[in-house]
């Protein structure tokens, strides 16, 4: 993102105007930076775009049928607005999207539903409920060929044609301009509670989380925060030392029963404590939004997705290579949030990707100054045949490289 100040902003009022703007950009062969409220603007590689296409005026719920578990909204609708509407009906987006605002130096609560879907966000409930992609049923969009098109539908069971919703989720705005999205919604749990096992080292915590996730007790979150970061979550009950947290959600009697079972199952590993509803909500939201690293903005933040059982090994390996690195674990160990010192060689990418190595998985540089994100591989480099295929897919939707060009990979 070059200097924002000298970029001219196109702010369509509706999908037709957005289509006109895209057609104009195609004819001028001028790249557009697509933004909703801009909360994730600093995510991805910086790229050149002379114009910003601001989609935050494309707002409003176009369909909400709680008993059908479905909601459609224009892409620029603020997530907060939708979440409030769902809450009134005791429903939610079960994928619990991360709010990157504060981590990336902005405000909380700014993101739009189009941005959430485009970045395929997912919070701690991912282990049980999946990511945005798993709830994204259909969309209306504008392609880089200047055509309005749709894919998917409003029903969950749908195999009619390719599942292009999956392709668009996680494409970081490099394939289409989303104008309207349809998502599956689910009942919000009646209650929630967290089982905490205290003072475990990383490796033991991974085993404890695996035991919980292998159990029949329907775990809706499994995270481990080492002692050095526990205080930064803003939950008094947790601050005292390393915390391995297992979240339970559902109906009261069921939670009570499962909490007891988990205490029996895991009590041998360390002291067991419980977080009630309120602190539990604060804890998981802080964990989701990477709060432990918000207050040290100079450090670089990486997000690693690895096989859960390898989480501790990967982090130990990285700490050996990058002194000062700190990490915590979500998704039973499968999601690692890692902060490293700003001066690390090559933003630490060789050390980090080397540590992931053969276990499979990938690392994304989430927070770093523009200059570093311009020179490092922000997203995991891909093997040649896959990179070539991805580039061909980009070609089908955005042949003139109008949408966020280079935000994920050079040339894509």
């Amino acid at each position: 993102m070059t200097t924002h100040s000298n970029k001219s902003v196109l702010k369509p009022a509706d999908a037709d105007q957005a289509l006109e703007a895209v057609r104009w950009a195609i004819s001028e062969e001028t790249p557009l930076e697509l933004v909703g409220k801009g909360s994730k603007r600093k995510l991805g590689r910086p790229f050149q775009a002379t114009h910003t296409l601001d989609l935050s005026d494309l707002t409003g719920v176009t369909l909400y049928e709680p008993e059908e578990l479905v909601l459609s909204a224009r892409a620029g609708t603020p997530l907060a607005e939708l979440e409030a509407l769902l809450a009134e009906n005791r429903q939610q987006f079960a994928f619990e999207p991360t709010d990157f605002g504060p981590l990336l130096g902005g405000e909380a609560g700014k993101q739009t539903i189009g941005g959430v879907v485009s970045c395929n966000l997912a919070g701690p409930r991912r282990v049980k409920a999946g990511a945005a992609r798993d709830h994204f049923l259909g969309f209306q969009a504008i392609s880089g060929r200047g055509e309005a098109f749709k894919a998917g539908g409003r029903v969950v069971k749908n195999v009619t044609g390719y599942d292009l919703s999956k392709l668009i989720a996680g494409s970081y705005g490099t394939l289409t301009v989303l104008t309207e999205v349809t998502l599956k919604v689910l009942p919000a749990p009646e209650d929630t509670r967290t089982v905490l096992i205290r003072a475990l080292d990383d490796a033991t915590a991974i085993r404890v989380m695996a035991l919980a996730l292998q159990s029949p007790y329907e775990v809706a979150g499994a995270a481990h925060v080492p002692a050095s970061l526990a205080g930064a979550l803003g939950v008094e009950e947790v601050a005292g030392g390393a915390a391995t947290a297992i979240r339970l959600e559902g109906f009261g009697p069921s939670i009570e029963y499962r909490a007891g079972k988990l205490r029996d199952l895991l009590g041998g590993f360390g002291t067991v404590e419980f977080l009630d509803r309120q602190p539990s909500l604060v804890f998981w939201a802080a964990l989701r939004d990477v709060k432990p690293f918000v207050s040290t903005p100079e450090r670089l933040v990486w997000r690693l997705s690895v096989p859960p059982a390898d989480g501790a090994r990967v982090v130990a390996d990285i700490k050996g290579r990058l002194p000062g690195a700190e990490a915590y674990f979500d998704w039973g160990g499968g999601l690692v949030w890692l902060a490293i010192e700003p001066g690390a060689d090559g933003a630490g990418q060789a050390a980090i990707r080397g540590a992931i190595g053969l276990s499979g998985g990938h690392a994304t540089l989430v927070r770093a100054p523009d200059t570093i994100r311009a020179s490092a591989d922000v997203f995991q480099p891909q093997q040649a045949p896959l990179a070539a295929l991805s580039a061909r897919v980009k070609e089908t939707l955005d042949p003139k490289r109008i949408f966020n060009p280079g935000r994920m990979y050079a040339g894509v």
Binding site: S8, K11, E20, R23, W24, I26, S27, E65, E67, L69, G130, A131, R133, E147, F149, K150, A151, G153, R154, V155, K157, N158, V159, T160, G161, Y162, D163, L167, A169, G170, P187, E190, Q214, P216, Y217, F251, P253, S254, E256, Y257, S305, P307, P308, A309, W331, L335, S359, G361, H362, F379, Q380, P385, L386, A388, L389, S390, E395, T396, L397, P399
Partner: protein
């Protein structure tokens, strides 16, 4: 059924092609005798049959890669095949194409309880995965009724579902990684044992792509711990409306059952006469609600669902008190297809999805269509997610009945789209629904989908004639019409 015209020049070179394939896959792996190819001439959409030019049964990824590369270079069409249980003709052979059978890819590669994954070759059956981990108390959640036969590779290709998908998701929500081969021979890995793929979610695109994008040669799926308790309610209603209301009320109460299945009167009767499950014969709709999870939860929810059913006007309620009884409740539903097969020489199984609230309307209209086409219909539904399986009864030996059945089916599917639903919920478009795609999508929508195909298979050699009503050349699809110099809307705010 209109299929791509066989390429005479390819057919003329058949002997040469067979030899070239034998050089890649030695011995038994290439089948060229008509009689031996007979078993491959159809899938579970048995109304259509076609002998392939030749059948190839590779047993390594390297062989798959070489076969595809060869076919790509010399312009031969390829139809991948798992167990051949597709209900939409997805695995229907082409006269000038090879069948690439994945049956020899039948090994479990890795079981990893710490990461809760199983990695298997694509020819392993759906149930084979569950069987491999059942002794440790785990299972693979998506459970199509064909699970003893269908392959996990076929499940990926069709994004198959089952009765437990309401709570646990479809194939696409339970696959973590695949290895696949493109027509040009490139071997590509997507995902793995970690939870999200990097880059574009091509794994999500491959899932449900009906064998048109690449050949899946390895699959990693997520396994779950078996629930502690499973119990079911068998609930009879005096009308399908009250049954539908009950489904809506259960979900409105925040309850997502493990499974929620409904049958109409003809289906209830056929099933009861076949398996004697003790279904009530005097109700218009029968609902099976299965609750699974921790004992305390199931106990609590059984009571809640019972209360809801009563307020919705249920006329009979039975609650399973033992595992045997639960299985009996399911026996009739699980045997619905063969039960209908007993009362009619042939049947067509449809697969539309509708917004649930449209159920009464759709059933009423379907009854009218039944009169119009002069054919009976029995209905089973995945009620929780609005996926209908109308079974249209016909007799292929009576002149005109197959056509009437197909017309009836097409009318049902168009109605599904009209009320906000889709042509297919889990069986795929294949050849069966191909020519109805224009009812759900515009030409622009369909062309965009075909362009994605071009990225994977630019020569359109992988499973052509399926899914898309018209085949366009990639060069033609790639062309762009640009109107130069147009200014964006003048009143667009710029600052």
């Amino acid at each position: 059924m209109r299929m791509p015209t066989p390429d005479a020049s390819v057919l003329a070179r058949r002997a040469e092609i067979v030899n070239a394939l034998r050089a890649i896959v030695p011995g038994e792996g290439v089948i060229a005798e008509r009689d031996e190819m007979r078993v491959y001439e159809t899938d579970a959409l048995t109304a259509y049959r076609q002998l392939p030019m030749v059948v190839v049964l590779p047993n390594t990824t390297e062989q798959v890669s070489q076969v595809l590369k060869y076919c790509n270079e010399v312009g031969i069409k390829v139809v991948p095949r798992g167990a051949g249980t597709s209900l939409s003709g997805g695995a229907l052979p082409l006269a000038d194409g090879i069948i690439l059978g994945l049956g020899k890819f039948n090994k479990i590669v890795d079981i990893d309880y710490a990461n809760r994954t199983v990695t298997a070759q694509p020819g392993v059956t759906n149930l084979g995965i569950t069987n491999a981990v059942a002794h440790e108390g785990f299972y693979y959640a998506p459970d199509p009724s064909s699970q003893i036969a269908c392959t996990i590779g076929g499940n990926i290709a069709e994004n198959s579902g089952g009765v437990h998908c309401l709570k646990y998701g479809l194939t696409t929500n339970n696959v973590l990684g695949i290895e696949m081969v493109l027509m040009n021979g490139d071997i590509i890995r997507l995902g793995g044992k970690h939870l999200d793929s990097d880059g574009y979610d091509l794994l999500g695109v491959m899932t449900g792509s009906e064998g048109l994008l690449g050949v899946v040669t390895e699959v990693t799926v997520r396994i779950l711990r078996k629930p502690e308790t499973l119990r079911a309610l068998l609930i009879g209603f005096p009308s399908s409306e009250s049954g539908g209301d009950c489904v809506a009320a259960i979900i409105a109460a925040g309850i997502i059952p493990g499974g929620m299945e409904m049958m109409d009167k003809p289906a209830i009767h056929a099933a009861e006469e076949f398996v004697h499950a003790g279904y009530p014969m005097d109700v218009e709709a029968l609902l099976i609600v299965e609750l699974d999870g921790p004992e305390a939860e199931v106990h609590h929810l059984i009571g809640e669902v019972e209360k809801i059913a009563l307020t919705c006007g249920a006329v009979s309620i039975r609650i399973s008190e033992s595992e045997d009884e639960r299985m009996v409740f399911w026996a009739g539903r699980k045997a619905a297809f063969p039960a209908v097969g007993r009362i009619s020489p042939d049947y067509l199984c449809m697969d539309g999805t509708i917004p649930r609230k449209q159920l009464p309307l759709v059933l009423t209209r379907m009854a009218e269509m039944s009169v119009k086409h002069g054919l009976r219909v029995a209905n089973v539904f995945h009620a929780g997610d609005g996926n209908l399986h109308p079974l249209i009864l016909y007799d292929a030996n009576k002149p005109g009945e197959l056509q009437a059945a197909e017309d009836f089916g097409a009318d049902i599917l168009k109605l599904c789209v009209e009320v906000g639903g889709v042509l297919t919920g889990e069986h795929g478009v294949g050849v069966e629904k191909r020519d109805l795609m224009n009812h759900q999508f515009t030409e622009v929508d369909l062309n965009q989908q075909q362009r994605v195909k071009c990225a994977f298979d630019p020569e359109a050699l992988l499973n052509p004639g399926k899914v898309f009503p018209q085949l366009h050349r990639c060069a033609e699809l790639g062309r762009m019409h640009i109107h130069r110099g147009q200014l964006p809307f003048p009143d667009l705010p710029r600052f």
